[in-house]
C-alpha cells in the first residue's frame, strides 16, 4: 500500500476543503462569521469598537454595560430569550432589550436591561443562566420570550422517526447525547449551512408534515415555562411571560414568501407551516392559562404585532422596525404593571 494508491480519496479531500474555503471566503466577505475565518468584518469592528456594550469579561450580557451594584430607583429587567433578542442581523444598539432602556427614559423611568439571550437556547438553558447569574446581578423582573427553539427540539423528539421496536426492546445504542465534536464542526461549515438552508429546506415540504406539535410536546414546553416561573420566584425575581408573535396568521398563510417558509423548514423538518401557526396559537393560550393560574403577569406581544409581516425579517425574527415596536410594547406593559402594583 502506497500513498499514490489513495489518490482518489486525497483528491476528494482537496476538493471538499477547497469548496469549503471558497464558500467561507464568500461568506466572510459578506460579513458572516465562519468556521475557519472566524467573525466577519462587521462583527469584528463592532467587538473592537464600542466597549460600552457587552458582552465583556465583566459583563456577560448583550447591550449597554451596567455595574453589578444597583442605582436606587432603577428597574432592573432580565431578558431571557434567544436569537430574537440577540444581535443577529441588527446591531446591539438596535435590538429590543437595548431599546427598552431608551423607552424607559422616554417614560421618565430609569431601567437597566440585562439581556441574557443567546441564539439557540431552550427554556431550561435560560433557567440555568438565570440561576447562575441572577443572584449576583439581582434583577427585579425576568421577562421570558421564547418558543421557537423549544418547539423545534420537541417536534424532533415527538414527531421525528421512532425506532419501530423501541417500545419493547432495550436500546442497543446508548442514549442520544449532545452532538459530538466532528458533528458539531461539520454543522458549522459554510457548505453544510448553505446546503441545509437552500436545498434541504426545499425538500421538507415533500414529507408528511404534522399539523401540530401535539398535546405531549406542548405540555413539555409549558412545564418548562412553569419551571422558569417557579425558579425566578425562588430567586426573589418577578417572572413575566410574553406571548410569541409570528409574521403571519393562519388566514395569511398564502401570503408568506416562499423563502420564509424554507427558512422555517431549515430549522424544523417535522411541522408544516400551518402546524407551526396552530402550535403557536395553542401554546400562547397555554401561557395565558398558566399566567392566570400562577398569577404571573403576561404581555400579549402576539396581539400587538402578530401577523404584521412588515415588522419581521422572517417567520419569527424581527427587523429593526420590529425591535422598536417590541421594545415599546414590552416597556409600556412592564412600567404599567409596576405603576399598578405601586
Amino acid at each position: 500500500m502506497r500513498l499514490k494508491d489513495l489518490s482518489t480519496p486525497l483528491w476528494l479531500l482537496v476538493l471538499l476543503l477547497g469548496l469549503e474555503a471558497g464558500l467561507e471566503l464568500r461568506a466572510h466577505l459578506r460579513g458572516w462569521e465562519t468556521l475557519l475565518l472566524g467573525p466577519g468584518p462587521i462583527q469584528r469592528a463592532e467587538a473592537a469598537g464600542d466597549v460600552s456594550y457587552g458582552p465583556r469579561e465583566d459583563y456577560p450580557f448583550w447591550g449597554p454595560v451596567h455595574g453589578q451594584a444597583r442605582s436606587p430607583g432603577t428597574l432592573r429587567i432580565w431578558v431571557a430569550s434567544t436569537s430574537h433578542a440577540a444581535p443577529m442581523d441588527v446591531p446591539k444598539s438596535r435590538i429590543f432589550p437595548t431599546l427598552m432602556e431608551r423607552e424607559c427614559s422616554a417614560a421618565g423611568r430609569r431601567c437597566e436591561v440585562l439581556n441574557a439571550s443567546e441564539p439557540g437556547l431552550l427554556v431550561d438553558e435560560n433557567i440555568a443562566t438565570l440561576e447562575a447569574l441572577a443572584p449576583a446581578w439581582r434583577p427585579d423582573v425576568a421577562v421570558l420570550y421564547q418558543m421557537a427553539n423549544d418547539v423545534s427540539a420537541l417536534s424532533g423528539e415527538y414527531l421525528g422517526a421512532q425506532d419501530p421496536s423501541a417500545h419493547e426492546r432495550p436500546a442497543e445504542a446508548p442514549e442520544p447525547l449532545l452532538p459530538s465534536w466532528p458533528a458539531r464542526t461539520g454543522e458549522r461549515t459554510t457548505t453544510w449551512v448553505l446546503v441545509k438552508t437552500n436545498l434541504t429546506s426545499r425538500l421538507v415540504p415533500s414529507r408528511v408534515l404534522a399539523d401540530g406539535l401535539g398535546a405531549a410536546g406542548e405540555a413539555r414546553f409549558l412545564t418548562a415555562v412553569e419551571r422558569f416561573v417557579v425558579r425566578a420566584r425562588a430567586l426573589g425575581i418577578e417572572p413575566v411571560l410574553v406571548t410569541f408573535a409570528v409574521s403571519h396568521r393562519a388566514d395569511q398563510l398564502q401570503q408568506m414568501p416562499e423563502p420564509w417558509q424554507y427558512y422555517v423548514y431549515s430549522f424544523n423538518m417535522h411541522l408544516s407551516i400551518a402546524g407551526w401557526m396552530q402550535t403557536v396559537r395553542e401554546l400562547n393560550q397555554g401561557l395565558y392559562a398558566m399566567a392566570s393560574r400562577l398569577d404571573v403577569p403576561i404581555i400579549d406581544l402576539d396581539a400587538a404585532i402578530g401577523g404584521q409581516s412588515a415588522l419581521f425579517s422572517d417567520f419569527h425574527h424581527f427587523k429593526w422596525e420590529g425591535h422598536e415596536r417590541v421594545a415599546q410594547v414590552l416597556t409600556k406593559a412592564l412600567l404599567q404593571d409596576r405603576e399598578t402594583a405601586r
Binding site: 482518489t8 476538493l15 469548496l19 466532528p182 415533500s206
Partner: protein
C-alpha cells in the same frame, strides 16, 4: 459511530493513513486494525468492549485446547463450553427480559409477580453478529474443517474487524483468517473500487433508504388510520425497498471499507426481490445469515434427511430461531414462523427456473415479492394494534394519497437500482473506477453534497438493532 456519520468520516481516513504508515510490518498492521476495531466498537458504549474481549479470549483459548485435544469426548466438552458461553451471553443480554415478560404474563394470571427478574443491561451493539462468527470458528474447528488460529491478535481482529462488526456480513473464519496470513492486496484499483462500493452503499442508505423512511414510511406506519389504502400499500412497498437499501447499503459500505484495507468479505445480497420462490429468496437475502443458519442449525438438526415431517420440523425450528435472532419480540417469531411455512410450501419448487417463459417468471417473482411483503409488515409493525390498524386500512380499498411525488420518485429509483442487471452495474462501476482520480473525486464530492441535502436526521441502520 455510524458509517453515515461525521465521526466515521474522520475515523476511517485516519485509520487508513495510520494503516498505510505501518503497512509493511505485519504485527503493527494487525495491531492497528485491532485498536481501530475496538475504538469503533467503544464509540457506541465503551463498557461492552470487555464483553467482546472476553468472548474473543475464551474462544481463542478453546480453539488452542481443541487443536491439541484428540479425544472426541473432550473436544465435544470444549465445543459445548463455547456454545454455552456465547449463547448464554447472547441470551442474557438479548432474550432474558423477553422471556421474563412472557413469564410475567403467565405469573400474573396466577397472582404472582416476577418483574423483579428484569435486568436493565443495554444490549451490546453487534452481539448477534460477532457471537455467530465466534461460534462458526469453534464449530468448524470441532468438525476439523479449519485449522486453529495461533495468533491471538489475528483472531481478535477476525472477531472485531470494524467494517462488519456491528451488522455483518457474518464472516466465517475460513474466509477471513487466511487473508490475515498474507499481505493484504492493496492497489489503487482496489482502493478505488472499495471507495466506489462505500459510496454506492451510502447512496442506498442516505439517499434511498432514509429518504423513503422520512418522506413516507415512518409516517404511514406511525399512524396507519390517517392514510388511504393506496398510501398503506405504497408505504409497505417503500418499507420493502427501505430495508433492502438500508441493509444492503450497510453491507456495501462494509465490503468496500474492507476492500480499501485489502480484505474481501462475502457478498450479502443478490437482488432478492427477483426470486421466483421463497426458497430462492433466502439464497439472495442476508446471505451470510441464511447460509450460517443452514450450515450450523438446519443441517445440524438433520437438514433434508429424515421423514417429510422431520424436515418440516427442521425448517420451522430454523426459521423461528432465525426470526428470534433478529429481535426478542413476538412479531419476529411470527415473522420467522411465516417464512418457515412459506419454505415448506416452496420446498418442491425449483431453485431458479431459467427455462420458464418470461410471463411465468414475472408472475412467480411478483407472487414471491408480495409474499415477502407480508412478512415485512410483520417485521415493521410496532405491535398488535399497529398491525390490525394497518391491515384494516389496507382492506378499506380507499384511494387518494398524502405521499408526495418525491416519495414515488425515490421509490422508483430504489426499485430501479435493485432490479438493474447486476453485471451491467458492475461494468458501470468498473468503467467509473478507471476514470482519472480527480473526476472520481468530483463525483464523490457531489454525492456528499447530496447526502447533506437529503439527510433529515434519520435513525441509524435498521440492522444495528439486531
Amino acid at each position: 459511530m455510524n458509517f453515515n456519520s461525521p465521526e466515521f468520516l474522520l475515523f476511517f481516513p485516519t485509520v487508513v493513513l495510520i494503516y498505510l504508515a505501518v503497512f509493511r510490518r505485519e504485527h503493527l498492521r494487525d495491531g492497528v486494525l485491532l485498536v481501530a476495531s475496538y475504538v469503533f466498537y467503544m464509540s457506541w458504549n465503551w463498557r461492552y468492549a470487555g464483553l467482546i474481549a472476553f468472548s474473543t479470549l475464551v474462544d481463542y483459548g478453546i480453539g488452542l485446547r481443541m487443536a491439541k485435544e484428540e479425544r472426541q469426548r473432550q473436544r465435544k466438552a470444549l465445543l459445548l463450553a463455547s456454545l454455552t458461553l456465547n449463547l448464554g451471553l447472547l441470551g442474557l443480554f438479548k432474550y432474558f427480559n423477553f422471556f421474563v415478560s412472557l413469564a410475567q404474563d403467565g405469573a400474573q394470571l396466577m397472582g404472582h409477580d416476577v418483574s423483579f427478574l428484569y435486568h436493565r443491561l443495554l444490549l451490546p451493539v453487534g452481539i448477534s453478529f460477532y457471537t455467530f462468527q465466534t461460534l462458526s470458528y469453534t464449530i468448524d474447528l470441532y468438525h476439523r474443517r479449519i485449522e486453529h488460529e495461533r495468533s491471538f491478535i489475528k483472531f481478535a481482529v477476525y472477531v472485531a474487524f470494524f467494517p462488519q462488526l456491528v451488522a455483518g456480513p457474518i464472516v466465517r473464519a475460513f474466509e477471513f483468517l487466511p487473508q490475515m496470513h498474507s499481505t493484504p492486496n492493496v492497489t489503487r484499483a482496489r482502493v478505488d473500487d472499495g471507495l466506489r462500493l462505500m459510496f454506492q452503499g451510502l447512496v442506498k442508505k442516505v439517499v434511498l433508504a432514509d429518504t423513503l423512511a422520512t418522506l413516507g414510511v415512518d409516517a404511514v406506519f406511525a399512524n396507519p388510520r390517517a392514510f388511504s389504502s393506496w398510501d398503506l400499500l405504497f408505504g409497505l412497498y417503500g418499507y420493502a425497498f427501505q430495508i433492502y437499501c438500508d441493509f444492503s447499503g450497510y453491507s456495501d459500505i462494509a465490503i468496500g471499507a474492507a476492500r480499501v484495507l485489502g480484505y474481501e468479505l462475502t457478498p450479502n445480497f443478490n437482488r432478492p426481490y427477483l426470486s421466483q420462490n421463497v426458497r430462492e429468496f433466502w439464497t439472495r437475502w442476508h446471505i451470510s445469515l441464511s447460509s450460517w443458519l443452514r450450515d450450523y442449525l438446519y443441517i445440524a438438526l438433520g437438514g433434508n434427511r429424515g421423514s417429510p415431517r422431520r424436515v418440516r420440523f427442521n425448517l420451522m425450528v430454523t426459521m423461528v430461531l432465525g426470526g428470534l435472532w433478529h429481535g426478542a419480540a413476538l412479531n419476529f417469531i411470527i415473522w420467522g414462523a411465516y417464512h418457515g411455512v412459506l419454505l415448506m410450501f416452496a420446498r418442491k419448487a425449483t431453485k431458479h427456473d431459467d427455462e420458464a417463459a418470461l410471463a411465468v417468471k414475472v408472475r412467480r417473482r411478483a407472487l414471491t415479492f408480495h409474499l415477502v411483503l407480508v412478512s415485512w409488515l410483520l417485521f415493521r409493525v410496532t405491535g398488535w394494534e399497529n398491525f390490525v390498524d394497518y391491515v384494516w386500512g389496507l382492506g378499506q380499498l380507499s384511494w387518494g394519497t398524502r405521499l408526495s411525488g418525491l416519495y414515488y420518485v425515490v421509490l422508483a429509483a430504489a426499485a430501479a437500482l435493485h432490479f438493474y442487471p447486476k453485471g451491467a452495474l458492475e461494468r458501470l462501476g468498473e468503467r467509473f473506477t478507471r476514470l482519472p482520480a480527480p473526476l472520481q473525486a468530483t463525483a464523490y464530492a457531489g454525492l456528499m453534497l447530496l447526502f447533506i441535502t437529503v439527510s433529515f436526521g434519520a435513525p441509524s441502520f435498521i440492522y444495528f438493532q439486531f
